[in-house]
Amino acid sequence: MLKIEEQKPVVFSSELLAKFDDVITRYPEDKSKSALLPLLHLVQAEFLWVSTSAMDKVAEYLKIQPIEVYEVATFYSMYFLKPQGKYALEVCRTGPCCLVGAEKILDHLEHKLGVKEGEVTDDGLFSFRGVECLAACGFGPVLQISPEYTFYENLTVASVDKLIEDLKNK
């Protein structure tokens, strides 16, 4: 179900709108709805999540109904429908990664960050969650950090600790 978290109007910068304009040139003129998924990624990269008001603006831009955006944003797992930490850590929790210790990494993150899956740390820096297969099974356990989706492979408890320290000091 679509949980409405915030109704503050958002403003799309001219840089963001220029990116939108570039994306829709990829499709036939009457098929600009194809731009929906890429546009939502651009919105998320800018605001770190996709709010209802942002979705309404995207609908307006593409000249489609808001529901057409909501149904897509809620279907795909990558779109955050509520605010995340500045660094949203996503750890693969599917079979092959679990064979080499992904569950330990998830447990460790909960302990290290002091928050449960999906919650944000008090300083607003981190949130984490388990996600399904990230197609890097030979290099597991793995995690990715949005919005850049930088990838970290062959994780150990020590390398996760170092990663978190590095991000804190960034």
């Binding site: 990829r26 036939p28 098929k31 709805k33 194809s34 731009a35 929906l36 998924l37 890429p38 939502l40 990624h41 593409l62 057409e68 149904e71 897509v72 279907f75 795909y76 797992s77 990558m78 779109y79 929790r93 599917t94 079979g95 092959p96 679990c98 064979l99 080499v100 996600v131 399904e132 297969c133 990230l134 197609a135 890097a136 099974c137 030979g138 290099f139 597991g140 990715q144 850049e148 989706y149 930088t150 990838f151």
Partner: protein, 455 residues
């Protein structure tokens, strides 16, 4: 060393750039195809090569191309399926990361053969780094005149775009992928009509896996007949295998089809054996959707002959004693791994990824996940095993797309080959929380293999 067609230059520094890729003979296939071959001749070469779809289904690529409808005045599309999401499979990520131009070169040749003027590479959204790599490589190729208007002065125009997905396994199914590319939820379409007749925007469309498209390059360079000489029987050419799990050297390997499974697991050229000196318990040979096999049936057929890495040998014996090559996602389990836990994990995956369109899959995957969770956590009852068998049978074949089958097969095969491990979890609810069932029952010679029932 076996022949490498796709990964031959993987270790050449700078092979991700157009300059180095060209130095190593890159884009020869585009020159040959556009200047000396007709689209029909290209399709014919791909047919002769015997190339089969590398995404999992194994359908002959040349045949798929020949089905494409060509009504006058209607656009045709080639869409590359780079939504690699099958647990155990990571070959496409590897190829796109290191040799992006191999995919772009294949896309140009294939688009020309199919008469597409605009083609898309649909990459799963999580692969943002790979999307950036591909976009950079496309810009390079376009600046050098390999894409755009009037390529090589032949009058052929092609625009190539990268489309990110949104994180949904189901979009690897070709009609769900097309829905997603149209900006909609990834709900698979009812077939027919097949995409070859009505695909993207209702136009004739071919959807091919990354590896299939990259394989078109050596096929055009060397000819379909040369390609068909590699491999065994109807499994022609080379295949990228993604090896993961408890192996000494997990990673992506290019093999000639027909390599013995035992050699693939244990030789130093490939996986180098099971990690930490442990024994092999089981494998999933072709990505999480294919049946799990105990070690003995992985290495040998039921008649005792060696099992080979090929479409036919891996499926030898049907689901009673065989599995499938699938996407080539080879997952190895060592003696300490728990089959029940892994089956539960896979069930959770399919439940999470079910699009919800068909009730047997939407309800059945969640039900299986719950029952497996119960057994794994020491609350199972003996009748739960039969219940699981019953649920998976009612999903299989009763859904629009193959996700239902993909969710049913891991559960069915786990019960078929490892039923005693499920029963042990139920009989020993406390012990099973701290100990593993181990390997003992699966080390038996083939004739005593615990192959229980076949429906």
């Amino acid at each position: 060393m076996s022949r490498k067609l796709l990964l031959e230059h993987i270790n050449v520094p700078g092979i991700n750039t157009l300059e180095v890729y060209r130095q190593k003979g890159g884009y020869r296939a585009v020159e040959k195809a556009l200047k000396t071959l007709t689209p029909e001749e290209i399709v014919e070469e791909v047919k002769k090569s015997g190339l089969r779809g590398r995404g999992g289904a194994g359908f002959p690529t040349g045949m798929k191309w020949s089905f494409l409808a060509k009504p006058e005045g209607v656009a045709r599309y080639l869409v590359c399926n780079a939504d690699e999401s099958e647990p155990g499979t990571f070959k496409d990520r590897y190829l796109m990361t290191h040799i992006p131009h191999a995919l772009i070169e294949g896309m140009i040749v294939a688009s020309f053969a199919l008469g597409a003027k605009v083609s898309y590479i649909y990459v799963r959204g999580e692969m943002m780094p790979q999307i950036r790599i591909l976009e950079k490589a496309i810009a390079e190729a376009k600046a050098a005149g390999w894409l755009g208007k009037n390529i090589l002065g032949t009058g052929y125009d092609l625009e190539l775009y990268v489309q990110p997905g949104g994180g949904a396994y189901i979009c690897g199914e070709e009609t769900a992928l097309l829905e997603s590319l149209e900006g909609k939820r990834g709900n698979p379409r009812i077939k027919p009509p097949f995409p070859a007749i009505a695909g993207l925007y209702g136009c004739p469309t071919v959807v091919n896996n990354v590896e299939s498209i990259a394989a078109v390059v050596p096929i055009i360079n060397d000819g379909g007949e040369e390609y068909a000489k590699i491999g065994i029987g109807r499994s022609t050419g080379t295949k990228l295998i993604s090896a993961s799990g408890n192996l000494v050297k997990p990673g992506v390997y290019e093999i000639e089809l027909g390599l013995p499974v035992e050699e693939f697991i244990y030789s130093d050229e490939y996986c180098g054996g099971i990690a930490n000196g442990k024994k092999l318990k089981a494998t999933v040979a072709g990505g999480s959707s294919v049946p799990v096999l105990p070690a003995n049936l992985t290495l040998k057929l039921a008649n005792g002959e060696p099992r080979l890495m090929s479409y036919e040998s891996l499926s030898e014996g049907g689901f009673a004693t065989g599995t499938m090559l699938g996407s080539g996602g080879f997952i190895a389990f060592d003696e300490d791994q728990c089959i029940v836990r892994n089956t539960w994990n896979f069930s959770r995956f399919y439940h999470h990824e079910s699009c919800g369109q068909c009730s047997p899959c939407r309800e059945g995957t969640g039900w299986m996940e719950k029952v497996l969770h119960k057994i794994e956590h020491g609350h199972g009852k003996m009748e739960d095993v039969d219940l699981l068998w019953d649920i998976q049978r009612k999903i299989e074949g009763n859904t629009i797309c193959p996700l239902g089958d993909a969710a049913a097969w891991p559960v069915a095969s786990a019960i078929r080959h490892f039923r005693d491990e499920f029963e042990w979890h139920i009989k020993e609810p406390i012990k099973s929380q701290t100990q593993n069932y181990g390997i003992a029952n699966y080390a038996a010679p083939i004739e005593k293999a615990p192959v229980t029932e076949e429906k």
